[in-house]
């Protein structure tokens, strides 16, 4: 079999280029827009670096310092503090678990009130939604700081902080799950003479509970990350010790604490993703 080499002649080329001027041009309008956007972004970045006092010298000394710290971090070593840190780990887990459970329990009525197909009064569900927005819009660390000033230092402030923010997040998701639920079981219950409470119990809950359970587990994962850091403002758990050890430059303990965080988050992710896929009945996508 012989292959002809397909090389266009000069006049073929000229004809093709004349037919498609867009591709013939070396600089197309798309290019110009892309370059303009990139230049604008780079300009803004340069301005921000100037405004925020970036300096190459500081960057250099900082990186040198950081490398020095990393050499001091190895090997990770808790010293004599291991029981204390294990206790802090327990505290962190408690904060994540209780925060999520309490948040979910409180989010349930809020989620129902914020759903259009349960509460027909627009003023009520608009108000509930804005309330959930505010609860969600304030970061967990800010909540933790506020609760520390109200209930004092300790893990309880962390629990309240995680719970408050979770009400906002889960309440919104719950209300969406309720709104997306099938209308037919509700009509069935109503046609059999069921009350409003009966429709919620027998038609809505069976539909939305699996969704809610998997969302709860998902938020437990994310809250376990958050609960490691609420201690930075004094709300108990690993973060408290981490901030303290960084302040007094005990680098081996710092690296041990970070390692504990990573292992904890990894284990919780593994367990809860297994459970989540068991609940919604699908195999995890292997990565």
């Amino acid at each position: 079999m012989s292959r002809a080499r397909l090389t266009p002649t000069a006049e073929d080329r000229a004809r093709l280029l004349a037919l498609h001027p867009y591709y013939a041009a070396r600089v197309t309008p798309t290019h110009l827009i892309a370059v303009a956007v990139l230049v604008g972004m780079a300009g803004l970045a340069a301005f921000s670096m100037w405004y925020l006092d970036f300096s190459v010298r500081r960057l250099g000394t900082g990186i040198a310092q950081l490398v020095h710290f990393i050499t001091l971090m190895l090997p990770p070593d808790p010293g004599r503090q291991l029981p204390l840190y294990l206790h802090a780990l327990g505290e962190t887990l408690s904060i994540a678990f209780l925060g999520t459970v309490a948040g979910a329990l409180l989010a349930l009525p809020f989620g129902l009130l914020a759903a259009k197909n349960v509460v027909s009064n627009p003023v009520l569900h608009f108000g509930v939604r804005r309330l959930l927005d505010v609860l969600r819009g304030i970061d967990k660390l800010i909540w933790a700081l506020i609760y520390v000033t109200v209930v004092g230092l300790g893990p309880f402030a962390g629990i309240l902080a995680i719970a408050t923010a979770s009400v906002g997040e889960l309440g919104k998701l719950f209300s969406e799950a309720v709104e997306a639920s099938d209308r037919k079981p509700v009509e069935g219950i109503v046609s059999c003479g069921g009350s409003k409470a009966d429709t919620v119990r027998f038609a809505l809950f069976p539909q939305v509970l699996p969704v809610l359970a998997s969302q709860m587990l998902y938020y437990f994962e994310s809250n376990s990350r958050q609960s490691t850091i609420v201690g930075i403002v004094g709300a108990g758990g690993l973060g408290l010790h981490l901030a303290e050890q960084i302040r007094i430059l005990e680098w081996q303990k710092v690296s041990f604490l970070v390692l504990m965080m990573l292992v904890m988050v990894g284990v919780i992710d593994f367990i809860s993703s297994r459970l989540r896929f068991a609940i919604i009945g699908r195999r995890p996508v292997s990565l």
Partner: protein
């Protein structure tokens, strides 16, 4: 019209009823087991988390009092004066908010550049060498598992107080979070352009530039914008550990019980976040629209 209800004879009903009861009983048992597990978890964590319901209920009114206290006093007759008293430091706060947004922007830009460099190495369809790919993935995983604020704590010690450690902390975390999303996008591309480029003798860099990048760029931009929204929220708390932005003033207001300042700053933060969410949402929808019209 009349319907006759057909009754099965009892000997046929009995096994069916038994099956039904057994099925219901298993379900109930499972539910009870789950409830028992959750209850045990709650009891254990109440013990671990030093929850004292008695103390809490005795002081629960303080919670309400606090939130009543941070609501500013606004009277209709002197509304202007009250408002200006509430926002007495508006200029200073707006400047800090501007700084916060710039921190988020720079962190997102640096993080996105880092994620762009790493994501191609971390995706299975472009990088055949398993060691290179796995080490890129583990690095990204590490960067996104360590919270921003922990990086910020470390960097404040290394680089000194100011916005720079905040930017670097956000950049590292963004790199990890975006790198994973970017790698997933890259793994889902159409491989035909890649095969074409390889067949025409393109190098690895050329393949990425001409066959991969055009397919993924709009998705990358949309994820980058989404991350910018998240980073604005995070930048607002960077000041808690001395890494710049409005967090510094917020911490002071909360710690020193400057009640009306707390609500003023919180409202400013919420408003900024909402405005930025709206703007980036519009840009993202425009990007998606562009993608579909192509």
């Amino acid at each position: 019209m009349q319907h006759a209800i057909v009754q099965l004879p009892p000997e046929q009903i009995a096994p069916l009823a038994r099956h039904y009861d057994a099925a219901v009983a298993t379900r109930r048992r499972h539910t009870l087991l789950v409830f028992a597990a959750v209850l045990i978890g709650i009891v254990l964590s109440c013990w671990g988390g030093e929850v004292k319901p008695g103390v809490f209920w005795a002081n629960a009114d303080r919670l309400g009092t606090y939130f009543l206290n941070i609501v500013p006093v606004l009277r209709w007759e002197t509304l202007g004066a009250d408002l200006s008293e509430w926002y007495w430091n508006l200029d200073g706060w707006l400047k800090l908010l501007f700084e916060t947004v710039l921190i988020a922007y720079l962190g997102t830009v640096f993080g996105t550049i880092g994620a762009l460099l790493l994501c191609f190495l971390a995706s299975a369809n472009l990088t055949r060498n398993p060691w290179l790919r796995l080490s890129a993935r583990r690095l990204l995983e590490f960067l996104r598992t360590v919270p921003e604020i922990v990086f910020a704590l470390l960097f404040v010690v290394a680089f000194g107080l100011g916005a720079m450690p905040g930017v670097l902390a956000l950049a590292l975390h963004t790199m990890g979070a975006l790198g994973k999303l970017f790698a997933e996008v890259v793994e889902n591309i159409d491989m035909k352009p890649v095969d074409g480029a390889t067949a025409a003798g393109a190098s690895w860099m050329q393949t990425v530039r001409f066959a991969v990048l055009p397919q993924v760029l709009s998705n990358f931009a949309s994820y980058g914008l989404l991350r910018f929204e998240v980073n604005v929220r995070e930048a607002a708390i960077m000041g808690f550990v001395g890494a710049g932005g409005i967090g510094q003033d917020l911490v002071e207001a909360i710690r020193k019980f400057y009640y009306s300042d707390v609500s003023a700053i919180l409202l400013l933060i919420i408003a900024t976040v909402m405005i930025i969410d709206l703007v980036t949402e519009r840009i993202r929808h425009a990007l998606i629209g562009m993608d579909q019209s192509r």
